[in-house]
Symmetry: C2
Subunit: 131 residues, 2 copies
Amino acid sequence: MSQGNSCVSVTAVQARACTVREALDRVGGKWSIGILVAASEGPVRFTELERQVEGISRRMLTLTLRNLERDGLLHRKVYPTVPPKVEYTATPMALELYESLVALTGWAERHRTAISEARAAYDQEHGAPTG
Amino acid sequence: MSQGNSCVSVTAVQARACTVREALDRVGGKWSIGILVAASEGPVRFTELERQVEGISRRMLTLTLRNLERDGLLHRKVYPTVPPKVEYTATPMALELYESLVALTGWAERHRTAISEARAAYDQEHGAPTG
DNA sequence: CCGAATCCGTAAAGATACTG
DNA sequence: CAGTATCTTTACGGATTCGG
């Protein structure tokens, strides 16, 4: 997931950019947000996530779960019962992150149509994908 | 850059997740943020960006520039002079996006060490990359 | 100075079958 | 139920070359 970046920028401008990317890298994957949002509502089990995120493969669910756990965004609790039971819970840090993401949600909603129009205009002016 | 997603989620929970991803996809690339931040300070030229972003290749600069322009985040102004001159300017929409990203910056700075520690702890408990 | 076009390596992501 | 292992496809990103 292209992490392991320590913000070794030369200019102050790019140092700021790097800090932003540092945050985005935590949720940069295709599925991280979906899992995080689902886990923000309370503890969720593996199969439960598999249904909720919908479209995710078993493999990607496992991988993303591991990464989120490794970053301290999810807590993994195993119940040693005979049908195995594992619960994933969002940590306070993850909940805080989600709050920060709400600002982005607002932006996306406000400019959703503007972006679509910009893309349509661009595609028409240049080589449009539709023809 | 894995865009073209229209948020066709079934559950309300995942619809919210999708809106967040919609915003993240605009800046999801490896270089988008760096370019956006540089352009937020005022109009910048191609070669200027090539130096500022530092590490970016000519190809990726061009590609990312095109995507940002297509999404309506950058305005491209060409001066038909004999040595060609092209200026890229952040649109109001892009500046607004950058403001929203500042919230994320705060989060990243607050939890930078916590994340590092979480990763170290995880790597030690499981198979550590360093041994 | 600003870019397009091509080739190529790596990493992300999907599908599926198998296991404790 | 909760994963792991393996295989294949796709997208991202780097290096290089060429053109206006």
